[in-house]
């Protein structure tokens, strides 16, 4: 009875690198990203009966990751200023390493972090992971039109922050 379950694990192992990248784009920190990946894998294996065979397992896991991330953001918001406190402790305990990690953050990562969450997720799926609009919209449970408008807004902000670019005005002569 476990034959299908048996090749689920190798499939998941193969998805891990991309799942880590997606989680990093969402959370902005490697440790948080790997915690999210771990929660995602546990949730996926424990609810494998909800997976539709023949559909894409990567998309299913990305969807679980996105939902868990949204849940954790809500919990964090409800909890109030814990984040800042955690950060303050991390800096005081391990100031040097934290500072170093912050320096290694690229402009892109910093730019991504300032985007609203829904735009960040859209950018992560389409621009970073290279998924089609259809796959990305299905992972985010939104119509394609919603996805493309989130992408457009996220892009504008990122381009301005990262490239210092001005917004494109169609049809205007340069």
């Amino acid at each position: 009875m476990d034959s299908s379950a048996d090749h689920v694990r190798p499939q998941m192992l193969a998805i891990l690198p991309r799942l880590r990248r997606f989680a990093l784009a969402l959370t902005g920190a490697r440790a948080d990203a790997d915690d999210l990946v771990q929660d995602t894998v546990e949730r996926a294996l424990r609810s494998l009966h909800q997976f539709t065979p023949g559909t894409r397992m990567d998309s299913w896991m990305f969807r679980i990751a996105k939902n868990l991330w949204i849940d954790s953001l809500r919990a964090r918001k409800a909890r109030g200023p814990m984040v800042e406190l955690d950060e303050a402790i991390a800096i005081s305990v391990d100031g040097e390493r934290t500072a170093e990690a912050k320096m290694m953050l690229t402009d892109v990562e910093r730019g991504l972090a300032v985007l609203p969450e829904d735009q960040r997720a859209a950018i992560a799926l389409v621009l970073i992971d290279g998924l089609s609009y259809r796959e990305a919209a299905s992972i985010l449970d939104v119509p394609i039109g919603t996805l493309t408008s989130r992408l457009a807004r996220g892009r504008e902000t990122l381009a301005a922050l990262v490239l210092g670019a001005n917004a494109y005005a169609p049809g205007r002569p340069s």
């Binding site: 690198p17 790997d34 894998v41 609810s47 950018i123 621009l127 970073i128 990262v162 494109y168 049809g171």
Partner: protein
């Protein structure tokens, strides 16, 4: 012709039909502002890909691979296992304590689900405690006395653990000829579940003595926590009469 921003974006993302892509390319050739915009958007995409590429090629942490290999699978087959007569609430919906597994407590996932379904255990403060008929049997039933045939729970052995708490092994009928074996230890308020495992399907009217049919994981847990020998009939009765308060 004017190309909309959405169309340029779809062009950069490779989402246009070849006919539409061709239209955009023609427009780019004659519109420097558009050409610059497309270049910027491509540069942004490259920036993003580059910034996030190290984590894709980096080795995956061992703990994540271990999670993939070791997390119990709930598949269609297991979710419809015969002893899940009442479809149990998935344990993550009641706050499944991952820590319980990490702490080395032997709790079988299927056993747990069927016990939750039969309302014989409940989640409390991140751990599991006996509930309903199981809690009652643990508190009142003596291993040395013949249990009422109506009781779905049989007590195996009673003993004291290394922390001085009274503990009891048990088997419980969870319906549909399926049974679960486990160990519970008496705290100030509850019977804390220490171990739980599914027993092979059998005729529930035909229980063997609990110790003899104890699954390996439960037996191992018992051997790990027991201090001294099991209580004899008299010591067990005295412990019950003092409401299992730790000595």
């Amino acid at each position: 012709m004017m190309v909309s921003k959405e169309m340029v974006m779809a062009f950069v993302d490779g989402e246009l039909s070849s006919a539409d892509a061709l239209r955009v390319e023609r427009e780019i050739a004659t519109n420097p502002a558009l050409a610059r915009y497309v270049d910027e958007q491509r540069a942004l995409k490259r920036h993003l890909e580059t910034a996030f590429s190290p984590i894709v090629t980096a080795p995956v942490p061992h703990r994540l691979e271990a999670t993939v290999m070791d997390t119990p699978i709930i598949s269609n087959e297991t979710a419809q296992a015969p002893h899940a007569s009442v479809r149990p609430l998935p344990f993550w919906r009641i706050g499944f304590p991952i820590g319980a597994l990490a702490a080395g407590i032997a709790i079988g996932v299927l056993a747990m689900n069927s016990m939750i379904g039969a309302n014989l255990i409940a989640n409390r403060n991140g751990g599991f405690v006996a509930a309903g008929g199981l809690a009652q049997a643990l508190s009142t039933q003596l291993a040395s006395e013949q249990a009422s045939p109506a009781s779905p729970t049989r007590i195996g052995v009673s003993f004291v653990n290394k922390g001085g708490e009274f503990c009891r092994s048990f088997t419980s009928d969870t319906g549909r000829n399926a049974a679960v074996a486990g160990i519970a230890c008496r705290t100030a308020q509850d019977w804390r579940i220490e171990a739980l495992a599914a027993m092979p399907a059998q005729d529930s009217r035909n229980f063997q003595p609990a110790a003899a049919t104890m699954p390996d994981s439960v037996r191992t847990a018992l051997n790990g926590i027991i201090a001294g020998a099991a209580l004899d009939a008299q010591a067990e009765r005295e412990a019950r009469d003092r409401d299992w308060r730790a000595r």
